[in-house]
Structure formats: structure tokens, C-alpha cells
């Protein structure tokens, strides 16, 4: 058997943002490769740098260090053999469907008649015949993404990159489009040699791809590399499928570490500051209540996604928060309520607030915030002051989001308050002993 040639190789790639003291690692020490004929998914929670990695692989971004090899040649610019299908379609709104596809051909020097011919044929292939002269705004999301695929196919890419291609679509369109993509790919009547898809949808990944590269965050790194060796078509209710999904959830959620590492350090101290997961307290309470109704107070995370009809990305954030606060534990893709979590569920609103308050006080980030406020004059600090302090640990946008979350949680716990009219964060009276 002949050895399948390697198409793409990523060698110890790092990407850093900012400069000097405020330097943040987006992705760290990434090594992986793709062979011809592979359909690979990059999966991970939001903020793990999977989109950044995709942009490095296609040559849109230059890595801070490390190299990307394409067919053994170092990439020094946008990869001419790769193309991207974008999450928000990235169609030119002022060009008709046909012109959008033709544009990709035009810049490659294809003469006018041939351009038209090929564009029409491609639109035909994705089922858009009759819509050639429509503008993107006249189409539904699913149809717009079909134009995105047709445009990508027009340049006959060897490496087709998909950046969350179905996540801006409604459920039915997404399902239909996935089927069509799989058909094009498995039938082999497109010149594409390999597909790399970024997604946070675990089920989608397991339905489509042959191999899943799992990424974790803080900083973005590769956690696992799994094969999905199920034959197509794959049935979601089949035990093999469910086993794979469980395995993936187990890999993604609950990589519980030693408590000190898990909790991180306070901002400004040596060590990594753990970012607060971006969830609402009401949603967290909802998750715990749902768990309490389960037999044995435990549930399979994947089943929860199905039952609660929530985005898997969001549910993973919720489970992360539940575990961080000690309300639940996670093992092998299952989440179970702790005694504390049970107490929380049974408690009245006021007691819930108290429990929540005692739990978040343990988080280094909150301890730090409460300390700062406690030492300040009149127990009050400007948002901007806290933000610039946090910017030593996080990128400015992320720092702002972190304060948002902290204020949100702190308000629920009645620990801190925020006055939007003067932009000041202050301690609640009970805290000002």
C-alpha cells in the first residue's frame, strides 16, 4: 500500500498578542499534521484559539513562532491551495450570487466566458440554479452559505477550511447542508484533497469527520487527537456514536486538576489567573435544578445538551462554573451534583445568595477584587482602574468581559455593586465592616 502523502504540517506554532508585560498567548506549541483524504475537525471551547489556528494554517495570520508546511514547503503568505468557508458567509453584499462566485475565478485570470460557465455549473451543483442574479440579502442563511461553498469550490482548493460553517444557520438548514457537504466529499467529485473544519458542535464533528483534534484553552493547546472510525452514514442513536460523543465530552469537560491549579492565582500574582466562565447565575441554578431531578443526581453531559436544548458550548461553560464553585463534579463525561449543590437547589432565594457568596469568595479573582475594594477610599473604585489592573492578565476585551461577569455574580451574591452612571464598582454595605 502506498503511503498517503502528508498535505499539511504545523510545527511548534505559537501565537502571541500584545507586547512587553502585556503579552498573551493565544495558542501554544501546536503540532499536528493532515494527510490527503482526511476530514479533520478542530474542536474546543470558545476562546481556545481554534479560529486563530485556522487562520495561521491558511496563511492569513503569521505565527509568532513555528512554521506551517504545506506539501513540505514553508508557508510565507496566504496559501494559494487553501480556501475558507466563513461562519458569517463573507459574501460581498453588492455583488449578485453569480458575481460573487465569478470574482474568485476572475482574480485567478479566468477569461469572462469560462468564468460564467463555471460559476453557473457550480451554483447548479449546490442547488442554486435560478438564483444566479439574486443578491445575497435576498437569500436565506442556508442559501447564502451554499454560495459560500460554491465560491470556495470555484478555486478548486486542495485544502478546504470551514470556520464554524453551520453555526449561523437554523437547525434544519444546517442539517441539510451538512448532508450535502458529506455527499460532495465522499463521492469524490470535487478536487479537494482534505477538509479542516473548526466547530464547537461536538455532535456535528462526530457526524461528519474522520478525526477530531481537541483543543483546550488558557492558553490554546491540543488536548487530544481522536479517530472517528465509524462508517457513513452515521446514526446518532447508535451506541457507537453515543460512545464517541461521551468520550469527547469527557475529554472536553472536567479535566480536573489539583485545586491550586484549578483555581488559579489572583491577578498580579505569579501564576495563571483562572478566567471566570461567562455564565449567568440564573442559568447555573437552572442546570443544578435539572440535575437534582435526575436519578442519582447525575447525568450524561451529552444527554443534557439534548434535553435542555442548549448549545453544547454554553453547557460546557455552565458545567465548568458548577465545578469551579463546588456545586458539581465531572468525571468521564458525566456530571453529578455534590452535597453543596443539593443544598443550593433546596435553599430559598436568600440562602442561595449566601451560599453563592461564600463560594465565590474562595475564587482568587474575587478575593483580589474584594481586597482592592476594601482598601480603597469609601470602598469604591473606577471600573477603568480595575480593568487596567486586570489587563496585566487578560487582553483588554477579555478583561472587560471578566469584570462584567464578576459584577454580575457579585450583584447576585450582594457582595459588590456597580453604578453605571459614574462607572464605579463598590462594596455592598454589609461588606464594609
Amino acid at each position: 500500500m502506498a503511503v498517503t502523502p502528508t498535505l499539511l504540517e504545523v510545527r511548534s506554532v505559537n501565537q502571541l498578542y500584545g507586547s512587553g508585560e502585556r503579552r498573551f498567548t493565544a495558542v501554544q506549541n501546536i503540532n499536528f499534521s493532515m494527510k490527503e483524504g482526511e476530514f479533520v475537525a478542530l474542536v474546543g471551547p470558545s476562546g481556545c484559539g481554534k479560529s486563530t489556528l485556522l487562520r495561521i494554517i491558511t496563511g492569513l495570520n503569521k505565527p509568532t513562532s513555528g512554521v506551517v508546511l504545506y506539501r513540505d514547503n514553508v508557508l510565507t503568505g496566504v496559501n494559494p491551495h487553501a480556501t475558507i468557508v466563513f461562519q458569517t458567509f463573507a459574501l460581498f453584499p453588492w455583488l449578485t450570487v453569480q458575481r460573487n462566485v465569478e470574482l474568485a475565478l476572475k482574480v485567478r485570470g479566468v477569461p469572462a466566458e469560462e468564468r460564467t460557465e463555471r460559476a453557473v455549473a457550480l451554483l447548479d451543483k449546490v442547488g442554486l440554479d435560478g438564483f444566479e442574479n439574486a443578491y445575497p440579502r435576498e437569500l436565506s442563511g442556508g442559501m447564502r452559505q451554499k454560495v459560500g461553498f460554491a465560491r470556495a469550490m470555484a478555486v478548486e482548493p486542495e485544502l478546504l477550511c470551514l470556520d464554524e460553517p453551520f453555526s449561523a444557520l437554523d437547525v434544519l438548514s444546517a442539517e441539510a447542508l451538512r448532508g450535502e457537504l458529506l455527499e460532495l466529499w465522499t463521492a469524490g467529485d470535487i478536487p479537494t484533497k482534505a477538509i479542516l473544519m473548526v466547530t464547537h458542535n461536538i455532535e456535528e464533528a462526530i457526524t461528519l469527520v474522520d478525526r477530531i483534534v481537541v483543543m483546550g484553552k488558557d492558553p490554546g493547546h491540543i488536548v487530544a487527537d481522536l479517530m472517528v472510525d465509524l462508517p457513513h452514514p452515521r446514526h446518532r442513536k447508535s451506541p457507537e456514536f453515543i460512545a464517541k460523543v461521551d468520550l469527547l465530552y469527557a475529554t472536553l469537560a472536567g479535566q480536573t486538576q489539583l485545586e491550586q491549579i484549578e483555581m488559579g492565582t489572583a491577578p498580579g500574582e505569579p501564576g495563571h489567573t483562572r478566567a471566570l466562565p461567562n455564565v449567568q447565575v440564573a442559568n447555573l441554578a437552572g442546570l443544578l435544578e435539572a440535575l437534582a431531578e435526575k436519578p442519582g443526581d447525575r447525568a450524561d453531559i451529552y444527554q443534557l445538551v439534548e434535553e435542555l436544548k442548549v448549545d453544547s458550548d454554553h453547557l460546557l461553560l455552565l458545567t465548568e462554573a458548577a465545578e469551579l464553585l463546588g456545586f458539581a463534579t465531572i468525571a468521564q463525561g458525566d456530571i453529578s451534583l455534590t452535597a453543596l449543590g443539593q443544598t443550593f437547589v433546596d435553599a430559598s432565594i436568600l440562602v442561595r445568595k449566601e451560599i453563592f457568596a461564600t463560594r465565590i469568595r474562595r475564587l482568587p479573582m474575587f478575593r483580589w477584587l474584594l481586597n482592592m475594594l476594601g482598601r480603597a477610599d469609601t470602598h469604591m473604585l473606577e471600573w477603568d482602574v480595575i480593568q487596567s489592573a486586570l489587563e496585566l492578565e487578560f487582553l483588554p476585551e477579555e478583561a472587560e468581559k471578566q469584570i462584567d461577569i464578576a459584577v454580575n455574580w457579585g450583584r447576585y451574591a450582594e457582595l459588590v455593586a456597580y453604578d453605571d452612571s459614574n462607572g464605579k464598582i463598590y462594596l455592598e454595605e454589609a461588606e464594609m465592616k
Binding site: T58, L60, V78, F86, A90, P93, L95, P136, E138, S421
Partner: protein, 574 residues
Amino acid sequence: MASDPALFRTNVPQRRATFADGIILLTLGVLFYAGLSLARSIVRPPVAVEQISLAPGALPLYTLYSVSRMLAAYILALAFTLSYGRLAAYNRRAEKVLLPLLDVLQSVPILSFLPVVLLSLTAVMPQTIAAELASVVLIFTSQAWNMTFAWYQSLTTIPKELREASAIFRLNTWMRFKTLELPFAAIPLIWNSMMSWAGGWFFLMAAEIFSVGQESFKLPGLGAYLQTAALQGDFKALGWGLGILIFVIVIMDQWVWRPLLAWADRFKLEMVESDNPPASWFYDLMRNARIAQWLERRIAAPLLEWVDATLIRRRQMEPFVEIAEDRPGASFYLATVIGAGILIYGGYRTGLTLIQLPVNDWLTILGGVLATMLRVFISLVIAMLWTIPVGYAIGSNPRLAGWLQPVVQIVASLPATALFPLLVAALASLYGGLNLSAVLLMLMGTQWYLLFNIIAGAAAIPQDLKYTSALLGVRGWERWRTLILPALFPFIITGAITASGGAWNASIVAEYLQAGGKTLSVTGIGSVIASATAGGELQLLLASTLSMILTVVLINRLIWRRLYRIAEERFRME
């Protein structure tokens, strides 16, 4: 007029005042100083002043001259806009200098450019050509800045994924300009071009007749004609001139701007169809005309295809799209050192000149700044008093807006300066007549910015909020206080910022008037600048110009920027 609030995002400096701001102010001062010194050192023969004929028969030619001047200035402004804005948007290091520079440039009173430009031009070319060029450059300075800001802002707000798509599909610089940047910026560029033309007409009067020291210049043109007619009290000629001016403005509106807007509607980024797109009878006519279609298909399309093909073959795309933070080379440092040297020496000389200015003159300048500030304030208050209710009425009533808006737009582009001499004549007998007419001129030049913004704001008030307040029985003043004023606040601020900038600039023509050999003036920084220009007192001109720039920049930074931030953060409805 489409009610598109995004068009009215203004050019308020969103950055903190930086070191660069100081450097730029200094540089500008030095440049002025250098231009003035150059001017003083050259001895010129006296020039023959061209006579302006007031016969109506002269008007067609004069109009042609004026329109050509405006067009030349506009083309210059467009070229400046495209290159300057692009450099500022794509080069981080250039951006740090270019943006504050633009901030300052738009606060430089237009007439202060005149002596520097004119006198340095006469140094290298015959006087008639120099005067002609100076006039074009003057009009240019009233047109360029807002367009540049609009272009820069568009470039920096192009969605990231569209940018990435054009890189991944290998669009080179030309194709990116043609298919991404220009379409994306088309609508703001057209609106700002309209504003620029209105501004150009406003200052045309000052750009065709001017005197610097002993020399006066009259360029044949509509502005000179109107000025002369007004000064000689020839009402018949004035009527003819105004008639022609209105005619030209209406023609431009119907044959150029409206068709352009109707055409540019396709460049709206929104992914939904708009309810009533801008319409133009002329555009519809052209689109359906056989000859236009034939021209498009047989000439324009193949030509464009050829241009595209040639440029695609010739120009490769740049390797990485992200804006590189490249390290400056040795030549950069060398240039910095040399530049700093020149700047320090120039700054020293400029400072020396400023110090030599008598204390009395400084007091005049200070008093002038305060007086003008008061006038700007009064004109803003008056403008708000009528534009808020009227703008709300128009904006919240689509039927009223339908026929009133085009009228308002044409009225708004009539240059108040053309009427100014008349106004002065009418009010001169009253006590404080010139003071009154100065405020009126500022008002007439600037209230439209407020009106347009308020109309846009009123149209953007969400219907459900209106229903809610009706259901709650909120009426009268209470309704204004809780619903309308907060909703309009960002638009009022945006309009007021543009209006106040315009008012400062208008003070130069509003506070000082030479009529039939006598000079009318009131206390104000504008009149200090205008009289220093006319009297050739270059030292005073330098000091007063720099003072005005400093004042305007400070007001922008300290007051408008804060208000704008509050408006954006607390009152913007998304």
C-alpha cells in the same frame, strides 16, 4: 434623504490627547512661520486687479469658472482622501501621526491658509496662476477633511471576515479597492461629498476675492460676482447671481447627487431590503435609456474588464493581511532625528516671533477668542431651539419628510455667505447690527448639520418605545424629557460637534467685512485673523491662527469628546 444614523458618526477624536498632538501643533506653527517668512522676503510688482463685470451676460462664463474651480478642488480633495485615509488606516505608525494631524487641520481656519499658500505659490510661478491655484487650494481645505475622515472610518470598519475573504481569494490591491473598499465606503463618501460641495460654495465667496497686505485679488467667478454686486448695492445683479447659483445647486442635486445616491443604494451592507430606497428620476431615465445601456455594455464593461485583467496580471497581492507592526529601520530614525532638529530650530524661531508680539495684541486675541466663543455658543443654542422640534416633526412623520427633505437639502446647500453683504446692509442700521448678522451667518452656515442629524435621530426612535409611552399616558414635556430628548441626544451631540466646528470657521467671514472701501468688524478671533490677513500683519496672523486652532482643539478634546462618549455609551439605541 435616507435616515441612516451611521452616516453621521462624526469625527470626534476618540483617542486620548497624545504626544503626537503637541508635535503636530508645533509643526503646523513652524510651517506657517516658514511660509510667512518666505512670503515676506519676496518683493513683487503690483498686480492689475481684474474687473468683475456685473452684466448678466457675463454670468455663464463666471459660473463655468467657479464650477471648474470647485471641481478641481474636489478632485484634489478626493485624491487626498483616498491616499491619506488609506495610509492612516493601514499603517499603524502613520496612523499615529496622520489622525491627530487631521484633527488639527480641520480646526485650522480656512482663511489662514490663504497668505501662506498664495505667497509661497507666487514665489515659484506667475501671479495670476498662483492666485488661481491658491483659490483652488482654499476651496480644497473646505472640502477635504470630512471626506478623509469618512473614508478612514469606513476602511477601519470593514468586517474582518470580508477582509479575510478577499485575502483568501487573492484579491490584489486594485481588486480589493474596487470590490471591497470603495463599495463599502460609497454611501458615506457620497454624503460627505455633498457636504463638501456645500462647504465649498460657502467659502467660494472668500476664495475668489481676497486681499493680502497691499495686494488684492479678484478672480472671475460667481463668488466674485455676488460679492461685487452686494458691495455695490446692485440688487438686480445680485438677484441674477443668486438665481444662477440656485440653478446650479439644484442641477447638481438632481443630476449628480440624487442619481449617485440611488445607484449607491446597492452598497448598503444591511442584509435586509430597505423600505424606501433613495429614488432619482434622472437615474431611472438613464438606466432605461438605450444609449446608456449600449454604452455600458459595449464600452464601459469591456474597458473595466480590460483594466481589471491588466491590473490583476501586473500586481500581486501582499503576503499577509494582518497589519504588520514592523520594526522601524535606520532611515526612519535618521529622518526622525533630522525632523526633530528642524522642528526644534523652527519652534525656537516661531516662539521668538510670537514673543515679540506686543502684549496688547495678545489681549486682543484673548478677547477675540472669548467673544467668538460666545457667538458660537449663542448660534448653537438658537439652532437647537428650532431644529429640535422641527427636526423631530419631520423625522417622525414620513409623509412630511417625503416632500420637505429635498427642499431642506437644497436650502441647506445655499451658501449663506452669498447673502451676507445683504444681511449686513439690512441690519447695519440696528444697534449691534454686525454682531447680530455675524451670529446669523454662523447660524445659517451650521444649523443644517443639526437639523439633518435630528431628523435621522427622530426616524430611528423605536416604535415600541413610542407605543409604551403612549400607553403609559406620558405626554407633553414629560414625553420630551423621558423619551424624545434622550433618544435624540446622540444625534444632537453629533450635529452640534460638526456645527460648532463650522461656526468657528465661519467666524472669519462673519466678523469682518470690507464693503465699498470701508471696513466693518466686531470683536472676535475671526475678525483678528481676517484683518491681519487683509493688513498683511503676518506676525499677528500667526499668533491668532495658532490661538484659534488651540482653542478649537481644546474645546473638542475637553467638551465634545466627553459628551460624545456619554452619548455613545448611554444613549445609543442598538
